[in-house]
């Protein structure tokens, strides 16, 4: 870290809300439909049409605001943000400008399961998404022009604006991760950055240590629309280095918008913001103010799921390590799975271990998630119960799990059909042990003369004869007993 400046980062995150219909009309929000088949006079911006606000979008936005510890305003309003672009049908976006839905929230930055820092959320507001441009030819600006699909136009978004509180690319990464964790429990968005249902713009500036003016006045570079948390991190890292180098050469940083090229890991200039856009915001005359009663807000607050920190606490109390807990916290499906499985199987650490190792391995192999896992929480619990009862060894259980995943069968049925049930009959093991002891007198002698390693060989011989089905701890104990008798004899 260069000692002559401080990194200042603020993030603007757009999240698409998972409603059935659009923000201001009744068209479907479903992803991937044929071009312009989810459009109507309202979202096409036809002359004479009017917006009517979707109540589910309000409910989602209020939940998000409360989960981010924001104050939800009982009175907020909508404004028109005006600019011309072919993906914006009315040439204005209905957004919220100076009286947003909610303000003054926070997101914790969590390191090793503990809050290392709190990033303030300045505001959260609702707005409508734009359509999609398809460029003929290779890129924007090609002579052939572009084509507009308005299926996405009017899909509800919330924009979450942080204060410029982050001081490194890593903090930005952790903020985004935790923001996504928190929102994921609310089930209000798909939160898929690669599909655009969560989008991030990063504002990066470097404050010279001898600068004490307003952070707002620093020349700020906005990195637009980066499609993964990793690329946000890379873009910011690159931008810090680029600006630091320019400053080192005594050059001025230009306020501008930059894109991120994930092929070469660099940001590139898109448009100079020197001549700022004049969005001519004014209150949307077609929409009266949004008035939320105290009881509405209170009910929404009561219905919130536990926070990410509460979940970490819950996992820690169950004996889950901080590292494992982060994996579960970051994937709501795994949390739901974990809770279901631990409800029916008491050894929570065992559940965690199996989920994060063997079940995860199978999910990856089959392209599944914990939502779609073909071995559900109850089936996993049944399998773990067989281990606990001694019917299966850990190694055998892995094979059984593989078969369960492959066939969808129950653990006990598979154990039977595979004939892999563990031998726990003392007499049966004793018989095999006596044969092994009898057949390996030298090894037994080695053991008795103090070579502990010899025991391992003998155990291996017993397991081999039982095709691995003998219960290892029983084999151990019986071997020792038999050899003790042998020594006396």
């Amino acid at each position: 870290m260069n000692s002559t400046y401080e990194v200042i980062i603020g993030l603007e995150v757009h999240v698409e809300l998972k409603t059935q219909s659009k923000l201001f009309c009744s068209c479907s929000t479903e992803f991937g439909a044929d071009p312009n088949t989810h459009t109507c006079p309202v979202c096409l911006g036809m002359p004479g049409v009017l917006p009517v606000l979707n109540e589910a979008a309000v409910a989602c936005a209020v939940k998000a605001a409360l989960a981010l510890n924001c104050t939800v305003h009982p009175f907020s309003k909508f404004d028109r943000k005006q600019y011309f672009y072919p993906d914006l049908p009315k040439a204005y976006q209905i957004s919220q400008y100076d009286e947003p839905l909610a303000e003054h929230g926070s997101v914790p930055i969590v390191i090793d399961g503990a809050v290392a820092k709190t990033v303030a959320v300045r505001r959260i507001h609702m707005e409508e998404d734009a359509g999609k441009l398809n460029h003929l030819g290779q890129r924007l600006g090609d002579a052939k022009g572009s084509m507009v699909d308005l299926n996405r136009a009017g899909v509800p978004l919330v924009e979450i604006v942080s204060e410029p509180d982050m001081r490194s690319a890593d903090e930005a990464r952790l903020y985004l991760t935790e923001l996504r964790n928190i929102l994921s429990y609310l089930d209000i968005s798909d939160l898929r950055m690669e599909e655009g249902s969560m989008r991030c713009d990063a504002n990066v500036s470097l404050r010279p240590l001898d600068y004490h003016g307003s952070l707002e006045d620093l020349p700020r570079v906005e990195i637009k629309n980066v499609n993964s948390i990793r690329n946000v991190y890379r873009g910011i890292e690159y931008e810090i280095a680029r600006q630091a180098e320019k400053m080192g050469r005594g050059e001025r940083i230009v306020k501008e918008t930059r894109g991120f090229d994930d092929q070469n890991g660099r940001t590139y200039s898109q448009r100079s913001k020197e001549e700022a856009n004049d969005y001519r915001y004014f209150p949307e005359p077609d929409l009266p103010p949004l008035v939320l009663t105290a009881s509405y807000i209170e009910e929404a607050a009561q219905s919130l799921p536990p926070s990410s920190m509460a979940i970490r606490q819950e996992l820690a109390e169950a004996g889950v390590t901080a590292n494992d807990a982060e994996v579960i916290v970051a994937d709501r499906a795994s949390l739901v799975y974990w809770r279901s499985a631990t409800a029916v199987f008491a050894d929570k650490r065992q559940v965690t271990n199996w989920m994060l190792s063997d079940v995860s391995r199978l999910l990856n192999a089959y392209g599944d998630t914990f939502w779609t896992a073909r071995v559900g929480p109850q089936a996993l619990a049944d399998l773990l119960a067989l281990i606990e009862r001694g019917t299966l060894s850990g190694r055998m259980a892995k094979e059984v799990l593989d078969r369960m995943y492959e066939t969808g069968g129950r653990a006990e049925d598979i154990v039977q059909s595979m004939g892999v049930s563990q031998i726990t009959d003392k007499a049966a093991i004793q018989t095999v042990v006596q044969q092994v002891v009898a057949g390996n007198p030298h090894v037994v002698q080695d053991y008795l003369s103090g070579k502990d390693k010899a025991l391992g060989f003998l155990v291996g011989q017993v397991m081999k004869q039982t095709k691995g089905q003998a219960k290892p701890d029983m084999v151990n104990a019986i071997l020792k007993d038999v050899m003790a008798d042998y020594a006396k004899a």
């Binding site: 009744s26 109507c40 606000l53 856009n277 009266p288």
Partner: protein
Amino acid sequence: MALSEEQVKHVARLARLRLETGDIAQVTRDLGRVLDYMTQLNAVDTENVEPTMHVIGLAMPLREDRVEPSLTAEAALKNAPDPRDNMFGVPRIMDGGDS
């Protein structure tokens, strides 16, 4: 509070209206006269007056989140000047286009 030709050009650019060079002077005069007339509003003390953004004090009505049939792409594009592959064609976009 007269208006300069530069301001008129700036506003025309914001509004995406091409003004012919020969018309700018006339437009500037017309708008200047109207804006001069508006200066009488400065005589009114509105220090403690709330603006009327909505003349009737309604609260936002909310719509149930239910999908209704959309238009077909054909109907959506029926009035389009340059339909291409069920999308709205536009000329090439230079330099971001929205500044």
